[in-house]
Amino acid sequence: MSPQALVCAVLRREFRRTARNQSEAGHPLIFFVLAVMLFPFALGPDTALLSVVAPGVIWVAALLAASFSVEGLFRSDFADGSLELMALSGAPLALVGLAKALAHWLVAGVPVLLLTLPLAVGLGLDPGVLAILMASLALGSGCMSLLGTSISALTVGLRGSGMLVALLILPLYIPLLIFGASATANAALGLSAAAELYFLAGLLVLALTLTPWATATALRIRLS
């Protein structure tokens, strides 16, 4: 049973389940668009101001959407016993955690990236800055999914874990927000955003190596 086959099996299962109840997968995306759309009503419609604020607004909305969508990742697996089954299947639980994070990124991370395009245009962001924003969000959303999977594994099965996950995860998302927003701010001033993007890539690699262990340990703790 090669690791790739295991990851594909988990991914196939996640896609089937998302396809079968699309509405639930859609909620974080609608939330993301709505959260960004509130700002023109708050700050007025002139795009001169909005384009300055847009990167920060889109990053904060992406963070919040990720912290809400990651909460339900293991909830149904924990309830119907398939988490127990995966733990006892002999397959490395860290790899299952990694596959779950990848599934979350594909189901919740990538759509947020795609939705950023129309939203950024709506907020008057010029294309040069948009490219950097997309790059930083791509790296950042990867970290969000990985870190979010570990934290949601820690709180799976607890009542009221919706807010708890957001409360635990947002302080840990702050470095991503700092580097993501400043990358786009630099791009808007014409400066190079390479440094911040390298940092985000570094954080992604760190998350890729450490969070699977944390997810596996957290799942074993919740199952005991």
């Binding site: 708890l164 947002l170 840990l172 919740r222 005991s224």
Partner: protein, 252 residues
């Protein structure tokens, strides 16, 4: 080695040890604190730049230092929970979190009070203060997670994992906040570089730092004893302690 650790980390032995420890630790804390405050307020010369407002350093710096020291000792406890399942470490982790949060809060408040005379505003987004603020949220997160799980042993292990995730993130948060504050405010010398420290200024600072540490340990001991009594309340060693106790309070 682990059986030894587990047997002698048994709660009864720890309870007796902590009683003896508190006997002399609490008065030592009082002495150190008084000496530090007296030294800091009376004997330390006035700072030529900041005048007497620098005396807030004797509260701000020790509590800022303690907020990190407590988190690091919690991380140590977290490792021994996950690797050796030491019960005492589980109770230490649970009781340290509120103390760490108090020190962080104290560092935040005294830091912003100290900043007021220098910059005219109560809160300034200085790198160190902002890192303290995020550290406070990490502490609150650990306490929230522990209260959300009923089974104490599972709660301790979950909080241990969260502590280790946090400990990896603390340097990242600190560095990114430094980057962020220099990005937005320009690379001025950080407002919190201590003034050129005069010997008479340094001694009270050391006294206060050691005093804060002994305060943390003795306050932790009291909290842990309560937790141990509640945890082992059905055992006969607890029954014997409680009946012979006649309610005479143990010193801090």
């Amino acid at each position: 080695m682990f059986d030894f650790l587990n047997k002698y980390a048994s709660l009864m032995h720890f309870y007796r040890l902590s009683r003896r420890l508190s006997q002399w630790l609490a008065p030592l804390t009082a002495v150190l604190m008084c000496a530090g405050v007296v030294g800091g307020l009376w004997f330390a010369p006035t700072d030529y730049q900041q005048g007497d407002s620098f005396r807030i350093i004797y509260i701000h710096v020790p509590s800022a230092w303690m907020s990190l020291f407590v988190y690091m000792s919690m991380a140590g406890a977290a490792v021994s929970i996950l690797v050796w399942r030491v019960k005492v470490a589980e109770i230490a982790l649970r009781c340290s979190a509120p103390l760490g949060a108090s020190f962080t809060f104290l560092a935040l408040v005294t830091g912003s009070i100290w900043g007021k005379p220098m910059w005219g505003t109560w809160w300034v987004w200085d790198a160190r203060l902002t890192s303290e603020l995020i550290l406070l949220f990490l502490y609150l997160g650990i306490m929230a997670l522990q209260n959300a799980i009923e089974d104490r042993r599972v709660a301790a292990r979950a909080a241990a994992v969260l502590t280790l995730i946090g400990v990896v993130n603390i340097p990242i948060i600190h560095y990114s906040v430094e980057w962020w504050s220099t990005l937005h405010q320009g690379p001025t010398v950080s407002k919190f570089d201590r003034p050129s420290i005069h010997l008479h200024m340094l001694i009270p600072l050391l006294l206060m730092s050691v005093g804060f540490t002994t305060f943390y340990i003795s306050a932790l001991m009291v909290r842990m004893r309560t937790e141990i009594l509640r945890y082992d309340r059905k055992t006969n060693w607890v029954r014997e302690i409680v009946t012979t106790h006649h309610g005479s309070p143990s010193s801090v």
